[in-house]
Amino acid sequence: MAEPSTAAIYRRLIAAQVRSQASYRASFVLDLLSNVVFLGADLLTVLVVFHRVPVLAGFSLTDTLLVFGLSSLGFSLADLAVGNIDRMQRHVRTGLLDAVLIRPLGVLWQLLVLDVGVRRLGRVCSGVVVLVVAVHLAGVPLTPADVLLLVITPLAGAVFFSAVFVATATVAFWWVDSGELSAALTYGGRDFTSYPMTVYGGWFRHVLAFGLGFGFVAYYPALILLDRPDPLGAPSWLGWCSPVLAAIAAVLAGLVWRTGVRHYRSTGS
């Protein structure tokens, strides 16, 4: 018999997680539904803003919806895959981290897989719906290049947000009450990327869009899809750079994580 691949093992672990969570049937269904509603609340915020003003910092409602859709789909994919990593402190306390360290598999992958938030699938579904509607309303011509960009942007966004989740959760190894920082960068990052960059001012925009890379999650790709130049003067090819940025973020997050685990193993806390 052939050795099972590592990927096959993780697939089984994910399937086990789905079975586990589905074993509480009523709460599983309710959670799925409430996660659909969740996105609705954020969407409502956008609609309320545009109810008062027709154009926001140069962008119409439909343009903004496209930015919002790209950002929220990327975020909800990340939230589904790794969102529960923010329970790091609890894993240390309950000994799950120790249990994972004595198994012959990678530590981070095991933790992610053992805690995957299947219930957040609802948010991904509504994210897809919002994006499809936004693409339609904004009249994106859907050339092959557009379609490609519509696929890679949410995926790159998902990797990018996952990296932010992992990196900020790792801080819990040094600093117990790191939850606020983590939330500021993950949920805060999502809110920041849900609107066109032109909404924000000065140094704040520079730090978040370029310094931390949030500008590449939705804004620059959306400009290409809308076929309009950046009012702030950035070149349009930046919209294709999100996978590169996501890769850099993933490598950095991996390094932070390794340092965190090494710290845990030398301090035991």
């Binding site: 086990a16 509480y24 120790d98 360290l101 012959p104 030398s266």
Partner: protein, 323 residues
């Protein structure tokens, strides 16, 4: 060859002590302070010590969870932390307080998942599971979700989970904690049998003295991070002056009592006399001296209880200045 070899193993933790409103002082505390330990293949070792003595920390260093601050350690010829994944396939670990099982799934599913995680061939896995099912009587609850198992059932499940990949060494951190008498006996009986087969090395920490008496021929006692005893139970008795007790009943209280070296009269209530004997004193000499008095009706010898021995051992260390 030794399965476990540790030399000068140590683990320092930094604790921050509050001094005033903002000032905090960092202090290094040695949880494990230079432990030397060698374990042969097939040995069943009891690793004892009071709470906070460094037992769990030692186990965590041997299993590759924590990195030692100093000293050398090898388990199955591997260095635990750098070779964690290789080592993980060759050891089994049961943390009494932490489950390896999938809480919401039937027990059977956990075993199937572990088979894949450890990449165990199906036939080998089935044979080992068969044996555990028989010895630990798992069948009545094999299809029950783990969250619905009683503690005793769960612990039997945990033991099985730790053994299905055929580990060379199995580490058990308080495997009988919180179990009822029947479950304790089931777990003990199983471990005894596993130990007798001679292939599996077992390292066990426990506070349960019956575990020790039943299972461990060798005991390592650790206190304040240091090994304070390494040897058999007998050596422990001899070293810590454990006292046997002889209780005799006479028809009428004897007028005069024999005086023998190392024998003390503990109490005399009516016709019943209780003597305590130091390690070197002979029960035979006492018995013949007593029977010479005449009127001896009944006699019993009580072996020292390990509990007392251990209690003395822990207490004898208390006088030492805390590090």
């Amino acid at each position: 060859m030794h399965v476990i070899e540790a030399k000068g193993l140590r683990k320092d933790f930094t604790v921050r002590v509050r001094k005033g409103l903002l000032r905090r002082e960092r202090r290094e505390v040695a949880a494990v302070d230079g432990v030397d330990l060698t374990v042969r293949r097939g040995e069943l070792l009891g690793y004892l010590g009071p709470n906070g003595a460094g037992k769990s920390t030692t186990l965590k260093m041997l299993t590759g969870v924590l990195n030692p601050s100093g000293g050398q350690v090898s388990v199955c010829g591997l260095t635990p932390v750098p070779q964690r994944i290789l080592l993980a396939r060759r050891i089994g670990v049961v943390f009494g307080q932490r489950s390896q099982l999938w809480w919401d799934l039937p027990l059977r599913d956990s075993y199937e998942l572990l088979r894949h995680i450890y990449r165990v061939p199906a036939a080998e896995h089935a044979a080992r599971l068969r044996r555990c099912r028989d010895l630990l009587e798992l069948d009545p609850f094999l299809d029950t979700p783990v969250r619905q198992l009683s503690l005793g059932q769960r612990m039997r499940g945990e033991l099985t989970a730790a053994l299905l990949h055929g580990p060379e060494v199995i580490f058990l951190d308080e495997p009988t904690i919180g179990l009822d008498v029947v479950s304790k006996q089931a777990v003990r009986g199983f471990l005894a049998e596993l130990g007798e087969s001679g292939d599996t090395t077992i390292v066990l920490t426990t506070h349960d003295l019956a575990d020790i008496e039943r299972l461990c021929r060798r005991i390592v006692v650790i206190d304040h991070g240091r090994v304070v005893h390494d040897g058999g139970i007998d050596a422990l008795h001899a070293r810590y002056g454990s006292q046997r007790r002889v209780v005799v009943d006479f028809d009428t209280p004897p007028a005069a009592l024999p005086t023998l070296p190392g024998v003390h009269l503990e109490s005399a209530t009516g016709p019943r006399l209780t003597f305590t004997l130091d390690g070197s004193a002979s029960v035979g000499a006492l018995v013949s001296a007593l029977s010479a008095l005449g009127g001896l009706r009944d006699l019993s010898v009580a072996e020292p209880e390990i509990e007392q021995v251990i209690a003395r051992l822990y207490r004898s260390d208390e006088g030492r200045a805390p590090s």
